[in-house]
Symmetry: C2
Amino acid sequence: MEELRKMILEQGQGIGADIVKVDIFLNHRIDTKLLFAMGKVWADEFRDEKPDLVLTVEASGIAMAVAAAHALGDLPVVFAKKSNTAVLNNETVQAEVYSFTHKTQNTIRIERRYLPEGSRVLIIDDFLADGQAAHGLLTLCEKQKATVVGIGVAVEKGFQPGGKALRDAGIHLKSLAIVDRIEDGKIILRPDDD
Amino acid sequence: MEELRKMILEQGQGIGADIVKVDIFLNHRIDTKLLFAMGKVWADEFRDEKPDLVLTVEASGIAMAVAAAHALGDLPVVFAKKSNTAVLNNETVQAEVYSFTHKTQNTIRIERRYLPEGSRVLIIDDFLADGQAAHGLLTLCEKQKATVVGIGVAVEKGFQPGGKALRDAGIHLKSLAIVDRIEDGKIILRPDDD
């Protein structure tokens, strides 16, 4: 997506070998105009799959899920909550997510009734790196017998294995920008294939 | 706001003396149509104050801040991050927020450059109870010499002191619905004064 690519190149910072800092417009301060343009791209990509809800995980996925849901005719958004303690009860479905960034194991959970059996789910998130968060959300859908119609992410780290694994598994994945590598603090994007 | 009041009465649950459970449409599953209608009400309330950014705190305030910012012509949204560790550096401004619900002290923080001196800030959040989160956000603005033009919340717990304290301090506060009390699991709203 051209607007996002432009923002990443102009305002993003590459730090070390693998940190893509884009919190000036994506996940701390949010450029709302860009956000809703992103929502429209995901909506165009996934409309024909007839999703009936948009699923994400708190916190930074929420804004993007809302934008996509709005562009799809105001679908409901459900966001998984993070919790360090395993709260086990019948009303909640859970999955484990390991964060390589924070070196922590998180439990993500959803009230079962908000992810009904047979739902057609579009997963949206801000980043895709090793794919742990995506796999956690896929696990929640599988446990609930919901159908994942696709995954939309804003920024894929193409040098980490998450994107390839999802595509190899036959999942319809739309990344709005793919970072190929970071060189001397500069973010190098993979050519846009749209 | 009539649509929100209706949803609270029809779908909300009162638990014990003070828990207002509305996560079926507000802060776990999000009714996106209602969300954007709420954003318009806040925008109408605060447009004349000429805010130039919308500030909230992760996680459940984000969707509402995005809706308000969108209705105000796609203003930027900034959300404070929660952290249990005090990360002290020059680039970050912080405030302490005590959560009565979780009995925990949280540090909320923002990169200073995302809340510039002289900004005109509209604060948006999902709940106002004892006012701790609002005061944390006010503190961040004060430290950054930003002007708070008003506070919009979705649900105010009228039986807790936060709302009164903010009004007494002369802050322009717009609560879309005010819960008067909970009686036998039933949520009783204060009459709408709009």
